[in-house]
């Protein structure tokens, strides 16, 4: 989420698939939209049929390419060069949106003198510690004016803490000429990202690049808008967050954010990636993007924590209200001001606990038991065979899934057991397999890629002892609370006092009753503790313990006891405001204040969306305004003001400290304030042409201490080919929800490797021959699919071949095959610890593995 979050303020996709139909140009990069989000793709086609240009930039020619106006090939993993060159093109040719950039971005802001760019330091930024491989970002900050402190007494805790943290306003130069203005620094940073460099590094011809640059800039004006759509092709790299940042910067410079047919549509992979992040089953956050307290930070007491996390000049100034309301929701009456509302019971992270570190801890015996609910790491994890080793080192494992997936069967079906390397008898893991319901057998809601909550209803009881995940967690919680009910130990305070009453609202139609969805959604929405009434909006939350709220960004989904807006089902043909509920506050296109000029009038009649209604003295339009409803465009920022008062009536990006897009990110990122090209940890080239002394990202996290997890490095002749992994329409993820379905298994029955006719003839391989694919991590087999969709590209003066493989297979189910994820390495980006599965290297040989298993 920090890719979009540090740029615009929120991590969510800024628009919806449906909004695409209003775009004049759609750039799909790092996504096979047509095959992986097929039904959403119809809106791309609608736009195309209305005359929009659709550009697909991707290492593979796919059905998305076939349906686009133009397909532009590129080498996998070089997106930042391509995007950086688009940024450079816009800056050098004066094709950025001047009025938007001056008013709605931090381009005019002045950066400290101490800051040094990758241009000065040959590929690294100032503040780098080579020992720790981390940055100290203090030199990336703004130069500031003297701080103005407000008068009078603060009204509440949030205001008091905000005042303590107030700093002076950033210095600006609205002419954009100051040599240390963000604008000039960016110009310098990207000056060498030229069409020629694109041709050299990405393998894309200069002509094709310029066609993209001209099309995108011509369609980014007051009259016209361009959208970018991305998926895992942008994210799954050791610099994944920076790739998104590069797209975000470009869209800011082109003035496409907050406008209809503009924005950035992040295409999430799963039905509820957005909700799972929002609510949050992630190691480092609490629901609503509140942070987990960390041992390493000044988080000792509640007040320390709130002070440390306070962002005084944005909407986040309300942070204490959201956290204290969350603590009240979790610990009820036991949470009082005297005991910091139970803050101490929230565990403090001891370091990194993200997925790969977690499996390392399981492998090392630090973690004893693991509950795997709806994921399949035995084949879905990168370097999947390492994941299986970790599972084999656990004391116990719960797998809860509708089918007997590989994570449940690894101890008798994994390749290493089948080939005799590991004996089942030697695996000490106690395994519990709990059969699950499927979506149709439970109630509940999903939050789709456009932040839209939609409820579904239960259709039938599940068979046998299949139970929902919600049932499992609720019943488990009841049992644990019972086991701890008599404890007086301080460390058990949290579980003892956790509010845990979600008894079913009995539905006589069913034999199996589910925990009450209504009670849960009400707690998530928030309510007034004295009256028990649900709160209509997050503006009602307080920091004095009088309100409870499980996830503040969802407040408003249940504005009244009997109204669940996620169940709204009246769609219209535009922004369908009465279909489902989009967080926050049912806004469909985020930052839509930017669809109007600074003075509040639409940029053009054609792209009219939200505007200031002078007569009514409020913002109005086709969406819910993402702005204070009655704050006039000419409202000045209050000197010494906190929260939104610190921002003026023309600052649309209200979650960010200064209300404007952060083209340059002074804080919030571990790997630099401006996206910079590095090669993937496995790369076919010998050097990084832009920074020859810095081939790889200096902050990439490489788990080379794990067994069989070596990276290939640059130009490794043992592994000469680039391999990229992906999905097909007929399967999902590791196949856990598809390889057991006869229809889907028949449609897409086996694993394959896509290779170009050129490479096939080099290897002497015919279509449908078996090939063995090998990396330092593993060896698998697949059938060759020889196709012109894969094209060799000329890079560094040589032909670079890319091969492609879908990720969906494993050793269980009705369609089985080798495990593609046995090939990749565990490496990660330093911000979100995402892996690199789109660009690594391998060798391919004709022939099968002996016995079909490595």
């Amino acid at each position: 989420m920090p890719g979009l979050g540090t740029s615009y303020g929120r991590g969510g996709a800024t628009s919806s698939a449906r909004d695409l139909q209003d775009a004049d140009c759609i750039v799909i990069m790092g996504s096979n939209f047509a095959e992986n989000h097929p039904v959403g793709f119809r809106f791309v086609l609608r736009a195309r049929d209305k005359g929009a240009k659709v550009l697909h930039i991707d290492p593979r020619f796919t059905r998305t390419s076939a349906m686009s106006s133009d397909y532009v090939p590129m080498r996998s993993g070089t997106d930042i060069v391509f995007l950086g060159a688009l940024i450079n093109y816009a800056l050098q040719n004066d094709k950025y949106f001047k009025e938007y950039v001056v008013n709605y971005t931090n381009a005019p802001f002045i950066i400290k003198e101490e800051y040094q760019d990758t241009e000065d330091l040959e590929g690294i930024f100032s503040g780098f510690d080579p020992e720790k491989k981390t940055y100290d970002n203090s030199s990336w900050a703004y130069e500031r004016e003297e701080v103005v402190l407000p008068e009078g007494e603060p009204a509440n805790l949030s205001e008091r803490l905000a005042r303590e943290k107030l700093v002076g306003r950033p210095k600006r130069d609205e002419t954009l000429q100051h040599p240390r203005s963000v604008f000039q620094l960016m110009k310098k940073h990207y000056a060498r990202y030229t069409p020629e460099m694109v041709e050299e590094i990405c393998g894309t011809s200069k002509e094709e690049f310029l066609m993209v640059a001209e099309t995108v800039t011509a369609n980014s004006t007051p009259e016209r808008t361009t959208t970018f759509c991305y998926a895992m092709g942008w994210t799954q790299h050791t610099y994944g967050v920076q790739t998104i940042r590069a797209g975000a910067i470009l869209q800011g410079l082109l003035g496409n954010m907050g406008r209809p047919g503009g924005g950035i549509l992040a295409l999430r992979g799963h039905a509820n990636v957005q909700g799972a992040t929002d609510l949050s089953t992630l190691w480092n956050s609490l629901p609503g993007y509140l942070d987990m307290p960390a041992k390493a930070r000044e988080h000792d007491t509640l007040e320390d924590f709130l002070r440390a996390q306070m962002r005084p000049t944005s909407f986040w100034q309300n942070y204490p209200k959201y956290l204290i309301s969350l603590l009240k929701a979790w610990y009820g009456d036991a949470a009082t001001a005297a005991n910091d509302f139970g803050y101490d019971a929230i565990p403090k992270t001891l370091g990194n606990h993200s997925h790969y570190k977690m499996f390392e801890d399981a492998y090392n015996g630090v973690i004893k038991g693991m509950m795997v609910i709806g994921q399949n790491p035995a084949v879905g994890g990168q370097n999947a065979s390492f994941h299986r080793k970790a599972l084999a080192n656990l004391d116990w494992l719960v797998v809860k899934d509708p089918f007997l997936i590989e994570t449940a069967t690894f101890w008798y079906e994994a390749p290493e057991v089948k080939n005799g390397t590991v004996k089942a008898e030697d695996i000490g893991t106690e395994v519990f397999y709990l059969p699950s319901t499927v979506f149709a057998e439970t109630e509940g809601s999903f939050t789709n890629t456009s932040r839209l909550l939609q409820t579904k209803e239960k259709a039938a009881d599940p068979p046998g002892d299949c139970r929902s995940d919600l049932w499992f967690t609720y019943e488990l919680g009841k049992k644990l609370k019972d086991l701890y009910k008599d404890s007086t130990a301080k460390r058990d305070w949290g579980i003892k006092n956790l509010t845990w009453d979600y008894e079913p609202d009995v539905n006589p139609r069913f034999k199996i009753q589910e925990p009450s969805e209504h009670k849960i959604i009400k707690e998530i929405n928030g309510y007034d503790i004295a009256t028990g009434a649900p709160l209509p909006g997050f503006g009602d939350l307080q920091d004095d313990g009088s309100t409870a709220c499980g996830c503040w960004i969802y407040t408003g989904v249940l504005p009244e006891e009997t109204v669940n807006r996620a169940a709204n089902r009246e769609g219209d043909d535009y922004q369908y405001l009465n279909w489902g509920f989009a967080w926050p506050a049912n806004r469909r296109n985020l930052y839509n204040r930017a669809s109007a000029r600074p003075d509040g009038k639409p940029w053009s009649e054609r792209k009219k969306y939200i505007w200031w209604d002078e007569a009514e003295q409020k913002w109005t339009g086709f969406d819910v305004p993402d702005f204070a409803a009655t704050k006039a465009p000419d409202t000045p920022a209050v000197p010494g003001g906190v929260g939104l008062a610190a921002q003026s009536g023309k600052d649309p990006f209200l979650m960010l400290p200064d209300g404007v897009i952060q083209l340059f990110a002074p804080a919030g990122l571990a790997d630099g304030p401006l996206p910079t090209h590095y090669e993937p940890p496995d790369t076919p080239v010998s050097t990084n042409l832009l920074y020859p002394n810095q081939t790889f990202s200096p902050t990439a996290v490489i788990f080379d201490h794990l067994p069989n997890n070596k990276v290939h490095g640059a130009n490794n002749s043992d592994y000469p080919f680039v391999i990229t992994t992906y999905r097909v329409t007929e399967h999902h993820l590791s196949g856990a929800m598809t390889r057991w379905l006869p229809w889907l298994a028949e449609l897409m029955p086996e694993l394959f490797l896509e290779i170009s006719p050129e490479l096939a003839s080099e290897l002497g391989v015919q279509n449908k021959d078996y090939v063995t694919v090998e990396t330092a991590r593993g060896k698998i087999e697949a059938k060759a699919l020889v196709t012109k969709r894969m094209r060799p590209l000329k890079v560094e003066g040589k032909m670079v071949h890319t091969v492609g493989m879908p990720i969906h297979w494993g050793y269980s189910g009705i369609s089985t095959g080798s495990v593609p994820n046995d090939l990749s390495a565990i490496v990660a980006d330093p911000n979100v610890f995402i892996h690199s599965s789109k660009a690594f290297t391998c060798n391919v040989k004709k022939g099968r593995l002996p016995g079909g298993v490595a």
């Binding site: 565990p347 001891l350 535009y574």
Partner: protein, 189 residues
Amino acid sequence: MITRRDFLKRTGAVTAGATIAAVGGINVKPVQAQITKIKLQVKEGRQVPSVCPYCSVGCGMIITESEGKITNIEGNPDSPINLGSLCPKGAAALQLAVNDERPEKVLYRAPHSTSWEEKPLDWAMERIAQKIKEDRDNSFIETQDGKLVNVNPALASLGGSTLENEWNYLHAKLMRGLGVVNVENHARI
């Protein structure tokens, strides 16, 4: 034939902040007025609205149930997101529910065993709760480096991003309540 709209359509008393009408030439007429009348395939049984569990597009579905069995799943033509269509995964969702491969009993594999045993659900739930407590009590870290941390390092939870919001919320709450820091799902960026 049951008229789908009477019960599938549902709108809260609270309407959107922006005024909805035909403004500025933009068409905001209801979707259902524009689609050709798509006939539901199965007319017998009870129909409930649902949402596709696969990708993040969020296609609307209509599930038909008859005598406690799911008999049909198809796209919801009223949904402005999919206007009735589904891709091959969504269209196959019936087989996710009605599928002979689905185990219906808890399976248990004792340490070092070479086979599964069927077990009662209650037994498994009880034993999992006991194991969580045992590990937690043995490994709990109250303070580290002089700081109060209240961490249970022995338990990890790996969720999936195809699970409902309600589960994610409740599960996060329970895990933090137990002092668990090892909490992850598929989501990354």
